[in-house]
């Protein structure tokens, strides 16, 4: 095989995909098992050309893809695999670094630490915290709670809002900690008056919950945590990237008091999956939870190793794509992208508010609009289902105050006002069809 020739073909395929993704149905148009039934039962005995793979990408895999890169992807939290990020992944795979110890890839470790310091500065987080990259916020939150448990092993409770991400419950289950959810207020933010930290090793405050992007009162939670000596983990997985805009910083008030903070640049900061960034003022507690150096890894104590702060022993060179994105967009480019997402979400919110029979059902601090049509939950779900199966756009739902609510999450950098308009038209069309 020729790397250059196959590479040209792969690059051309990638370029064409990005050029045409707008035209594809956003949500995969197949039934469970359909792709599986179209693939052979076993690997081939003899080598196949790379071109065969590219052909099957078009002919076999394409209908089974949900197009996260589509400008009309509005489900969950929309993201963007940006061009510099994509090409950096090509380079990272080429270099195939394995970060175990510092010396197994000084570039990986130092670039990871440097880009995390850059990102902390961009977001207005305190200088001097230690930052590292995990695959996802689920892993980062699990790690932070493990560090919290290691700090105060006799306390076995994690306190969070009832609207916290499911990864908090998942981590608590794995760590065998009791989960103590605090009710939310009418804005779905944690009610500090109901906060009970008795026996708690950690509390989780969320800035931008997954359901409705609610903002917990971080200062109030931090006050309580400080008084009780409890670890404060701040989950800003989605919203954190928005702190690159100074005018949005007030929404993040108090996060600088966290013991750990997680932000996902693979959500709203143009970095392809996967890249979840975690900062902590207490790396020693992470080390207490995770450090363990066997003889075959013993080494002159040249520097701390990232593997001593995390679950995996080896890590890939994710910092390269973060570096690429931060440099190729710059502070101004990142701010521009965030502001445009928010502008488009605000526009959609206005349209919904102005339209009889529709309502916005939660505050919109960032780029997610929670809304619904007058009618039952089933009717709302049916409107969403029809839009999604039409392929014109892809939205998801949640439940707030017992009611089913539609979510339009703006976050793909290719989304334009026309995309928002067309999606709104499709929603109204399907509502009228009932």
């Amino acid at each position: 095989m020729s790397f250059r020739e196959d590479g040209e073909a792969a690059l051309d395929w990638a370029a064409r995909y990005l050029e045409t993704v707008r035209e594809r149905p956003v949500l995969a148009q197949i039934e469970p098992g359909e792709l599986r039934s179209r693939l052979p039962d076993t690997a081939p005995d003899e080598p196949e050309p790379f071109a065969a793979l590219l052909r099957d990408l078009d002919d076999v895999l394409m209908p089974a893809l949900t197009h996260w890169q589509s400008p009309r992807f509005f489900a969950y939290f929309a993201n963007t695999g940006s061009e510099p990020g994509i090409l950096a992944e090509l380079l990272a795979a080429t270099l195939n670094q394995v970060g175990i110890l510092w010396r197994t890839s000084p570039a990986l470790q130092e670039l990871e630490e440097v880009t995390l310091a850059w990102l902390a500065e961009l977001l207005g987080l305190p200088a001097g915290w230690h930052g590292h990259i995990d695959d996802t916020a689920s892993t980062a939150t699990l790690s932070a709670l493990a560090a919290a448990r290691a700090r105060t092993p006799d306390r076995r409770v994690v306190v969070c809002s009832e609207h916290s991400h499911s990864s908090v419950a998942k981590a608590a289950r794995l760590l065998e900690l009791e989960l103590r959810p605090v009710p939310g207020d009418e804005r779905h933010a944690l009610r500090p008056d109901l906060l009970d930290l008795d026996g708690a090793c950690a509390a989780v405050a969320t800035i931008g919950t997954t359901s409705s992007t609610a903002i917990d009162p971080v200062h109030a939670v931090a006050d309580a945590c400080e008084a009780a000596g409890v670890w404060l983990h701040v989950d800003a997985a989605y919203a954190g990237s928005a702190a690159v805009c100074p005018e949005l910083r007030p929404l993040f008030a108090g996060w600088e008091r966290g013991d750990s903070v997680v932000v996902n640049p693979h959500k709203w900061l143009l970095v392809p999956m996967d890249c979840s960034t975690l900062w902590t003022r207490r790396p020693d507690d992470f080390r207490r939870a995770f450090s363990l150096v066997p003889e075959y890894l013993r080494n002159d104590a040249e520097t701390a190793n990232l593997s001593e702060l995390a679950i995996p022993l080896g890590r890939r060179f994710r910092a390269l794509k973060l570096w690429a994105v931060l440099r190729c967009y710059g502070r101004s480019g990142l701010q521009e992208m965030i502001r445009e997402s928010i502008r488009l979400a605000a526009l959609f919110e206005e349209w919904v508010e102005a339209e009889p029979g529709w309502e916005v059902v939660a505050p919109r601090p960032f780029s997610l609009v929670c809304f619904r049509h007058d009618g039952t939950d089933d009717e709302n779900e049916e409107i969403m289902r029809r839009v999604n199966t039409s392929g014109e756009a892809f939205l998801s739902h949640t439940k707030l105050d017992g009611r089913l609510v539609l979510r339009l999450a703006v976050g793909n950098a290719r989304t334009t006002e026309d995309d928002i308009r067309a999606t709104w038209d499709a929603l109204r069309r399907e509502a009228a069809r009932r």
Copy 2:
């Protein structure tokens, strides 16, 4: 920025890197902090061209890279980021799939399940097990032990060999399970006569330990596990790929009796970091440990979701590179690569055995040779240090029976007999210089 133009430049950079990696010093030639000091303190305010990144890769990052792709990388376990795997990573980043639920990427989920079934067949593992991909074996082992704990929550002991990988101890610490190491025999394999499963939720048997690629007696451990109703986790992270060769299958006798088996295609099966494959006959126990579906992810029960079997909620499209490698090499190509690694290791072993003043100090079932020169530990470490700092080759060490031992791990697909010969020459030269 132009994706096609920047892509051409990135591809050319990648091709040149692979063409010239043989000429570079294998181990990074810098001091801790040196790279950091050469990078700016903050991200740029304005966008930079992608070309600036490529320039800095050459000028700033290159000396800080340890070249895992070098044919003279023999440390830890040598690996290969193969060309089809590298290009598949470009495509995966382009598609930017996020596997949360089946419908967020049917292609990701079904291709992951299909390629894992292909790989199970290639390796001679039982049909019908459920397979999924984790980032590393550390995570896979943690998941398996969490599933074992969920199955028998009242038992709190993990039994393994004293030569088991450090990730077993790390997982036990996180899961708050007691670690009960069993002494190894003169071949560094677990001694089944000393196996005590009282109170154990899991036992770990390793096929190819990290220190010396020792093989635990899996059948004997499986017998004991079956009698006591204890979960058997088989760690074949490095060696498992070798089972693609039928003549090596006897070394894996008994692994088909495991409750879970982990193999790392990113080690010895040409897949770039990161790709660790785990199969289990008990997906329901994984679900018991990890499944948790909040409302915003609720969905028609169309199919099981991979996120219910693992720590992260979202996963990237790693199956694509595994698919690319299995197809572009085929069974025959994978067998050829494994056999060549083993042939070269056997050759080196012969040379060491034939040379006065040197000895092979452990059996060599696969492609790792454990050896030492007559003399003290310090003298051996000094020989290794000199070879490593010369840049000609990179080896690592371990301790066996209280003595420091050098390890030559063959596993890079570009390694030739000349590379082995040159490394052996360098070792003898440095030994003679003392």
